[in-house]
Symmetry: C2
Subunit: 441 residues, 2 copies
């Protein structure tokens, strides 16, 4: 079988070790010849890189491994770029969460003003990596799961329309896993129909390979329990805030019980409750910094200190194996069915052609072929339209450096109560984001 050269952009991410281990675990179906980490923060990446070098040497000595801040080294002779960058790191995520909360507005990584702020920070970084990739490996595909995926995907559509960028999110994968547990199946046994934007969508069908429909059964369960299952296997999604999120799907279903909702919709439909339950002094970013970030970097330092990765505290991120499915689909033309973020072009019939939507696609060597989802109801369509226009105007504000447009984008957001609050938010966000944002005039 052909062997592949992979670069992970955002090598210093807390997710990198788990994904590297997942790649090694999947070597039989996705053979590696080279694995590289790329980041613009040498020190942070260095900690993980040094540990992973030890791990690779022990567990996969046949795979060439290196970590670098030099794009030429990183991106030369590369087949796939896996991108999970976080411009501004958790320190800025903390601001994304806390500044809105200060104004009584949802403070969240990807939803609401925090997501828009994060989007404004991410666009330049993403374009830079795409440009590196195209310069040094013109045939390379980017498997992009960087947040905020909706804005990043729209920016790619507008600024790099011809680039080989595949935008995908793990949320539909994660929720499908929960659904499969609810009905006693494996995710791989199920095919879904789904429409939405990233972090903003609904499942309309969940069938097994024989064509049996399970959506009613799942809906009955979610109406009682949300997506909280008895088989809570995913450690990341097990902590209290994630449990509450999965439970909340019950309330989302009440607002419209035709389809199964993406849990992120709670930020748009129940922002008041979410704000009331938030602690503006200690947000998810603080949890992650004190939790996963510390654990992962401590584990890396321990490996380096011990000189071995045996009995390490790195944990395999086996749920990220959808990335391997995606790479395989491209590499081997598998025609895997996957929910991806693509330009609409009619996939959702009553939605703008030029919107980046999340729908099931058949993925082959040329990329995704979206499966048409037909017309969607007015309620869902209107919520999605409002949100997609916020995302589009944010990207336009970035490109034009327009204060007015960014103010208007915030004003349009379902999460922001008024133009007055939008302006106060914007002024605060400009201040803390400094040079991470383009200058807005």
């Amino acid at each position: 079988m052909k062997k592949f050269s992979v670069v992970i952009a955002g090598g210093g991410s807390t997710f990198t070790p788990g994904i590297v281990m997942m790649l090694l675990d999947n070597k039989d179906r996705f053979p590696l010849r080279s694995l590289r980490l790329y980041d613009n923060d040498a020190e942070r990446q260095g900690v993980l890189g040094e540990a992973l070098a030890i791990l690779l040497k022990e567990q996969a000595p046949d795979v060439e491994f290196l970590y670098t801040t030099d794009p030429e080294v990183a991106f030369t002779d590369t087949d796939f770029c896996m991108a999970h960058i976080r411009v501004g790191k958790y320190a800025m995520r903390e601001q994304d969460e806390k500044i809105p909360l200060k104004h009584g507005v949802i403070g969240q990584e990807t939803c609401g003003p925090g997501g828009l702020a994060y989007g404004m920070r991410s666009i330049s970084g993403m374009m830079e990596i795409i440009d590196h990739m195209e310069r040094y490996s013109p045939n390379c595909w980017m498997l992009n799961y960087s947040n905020p995926a909706a804005i990043v995907a729209e920016a790619c559509r507008v600024l790099r329309p011809n680039s080989k960028v595949l935008n995908i999110c793990d949320m539909p994968v994660g929720t499908l896993r929960r659904m499969s547990q609810i009905i006693g199946k494996q995710p791989k046994e199920l095919d879904v129909r789904y429409f939405g934007l990233n972090h903003f969508g609904w499942w309309t069908s969940v069938k097994d390979k024989e064509g049996n429909e399970y959506i009613d059964q799942i809906r009955d369960y979610v109406a009682e329990n949300g997506y909280l299952t008895q088989v809570e296997v995913d450690t990341q999604h097990m902590d209290e805030s994630w449990q509450a999120t999965h439970k909340k799907a019950k309330d989302l279903l009440e607002v419209d019980n035709r389809f199964l909702p993406n849990t992120y919709l709670k930020y748009y439909l129940f922002p008041d409750e979410e704000v009331a339950h938030s602690n503006a002094d200690y947000t998810r970013a603080n949890e992650v910094m004190a939790g996963r970030e510390k654990t992962v970097f401590d584990a890396a330092r321990k490996i380096v200190a011990n000189g071995t990765a045996e009995n390490s505290d790195f944990h395999i991120d086996s749920h990220a194996s959808f990335i391997v499915d995606l790479a395989r689909a491209i590499a081997f033309n598998t025609h895997e069915r996957m929910v991806m973020i693509v330009e609409n072009n009619g996939a959702i019939a009553n939605f703008p052609d030029d919107a980046m939507v999340e729908v099931p696609c058949i993925v082959g060597s040329d990329g995704p072929e979206p499966l048409a989802q037909g017309r969607i109801p007015a309620f869902h369509q209107t919520l999605m339209y409002q949100q997609v226009m916020v995302e589009k105007m944010t990207v336009e504000a970035f490109i034009e450096g327009s204060y007015q447009k960014m103010w208007q984008a915030l004003t349009l957001s379902k999460t922001v109560p008024s133009a007055k609050v939008a302006k106060e938010l914007l002024d605060d966000l400009i201040e803390v984001n400094g040079d991470f944002w383009p200058e807005l005039k």
Copy 2:
């Protein structure tokens, strides 16, 4: 010149005397042969009817006058039906205003949950009057300025698509009068371009008959003063709450300074400020009941007591003469240019064809021909889309008797912070509206 038979539906309205006097004042350009009042509240209409009978006998003995609760009497041999009904009267308007405020939401006659509640009350009444009109005078035109005009117009589009109903609002007329004062012109000297929904739009051009553009001059003035002019001639619009409304246009212009905003946009863009300045114990309905309603009915009783309308306290509503312009346009094919509420069908290029929009039209014997306004910017289009879908779903909820759809309509509204608040509002509105609303299941 031909003489016309006119019926006023909502004869018991506080606006009726002023409009009757306006009609008499315009008799030279719109001759009357018959004037009738129609209402389903005999007692209320009777007070005004008795007084107006005296007034007509003195001032226009040649005009047949009567007031009735019998549709056959009212609508037989009628050329124009002027409709300004208010289902539930001011007592229910008070509820429309106070219930949302109780939940921290805009409490207003036509905007936000109050407007939707009023819409749900009004549809049956409007359809009933249209049916009377068509039954007894199939060639009659309805000149409809009943609020909430957006929802009433959408209901007419869906339920009576072929009826001769002309939907028009006095707000664009009133604001144009202010603009004309700002630039030292008369309203009749000016032609506007405008796009929006009812109580939700923007002027894009204000030209004189020679084609000179005044929008920049007006914008500079509004950026300083809002629409508050030195020539405050309109008594209804002179009280404190209206002054604040006209001033507020200054802030609306700041959010987007390309076009001149309709003042009602403040309820959607600055709802938090509006709620903060509202008194939930004494709203506009209370002002009107203690003010205009008392004044008008006292004046009527005085006329009856005196047996003469000489030196009466009825005031002519000369600003309502746009209704005569509209009737004349139909009657005499004048091709008057008027801002009306019509089915879009491309008049706003990037807006749904089946939306009821407010745009300038050329009005002739067959009704309005909308003037195409082209494409509108994303910010305005998205705000309008959200709002028009709220209005459409309200009409659908009415037709289907759907609790779920009404909950969703409220949830979609820019004025409502969450699905939770939407549900609480809906349950309260259902309770106070009782039989005024269809049963929602």
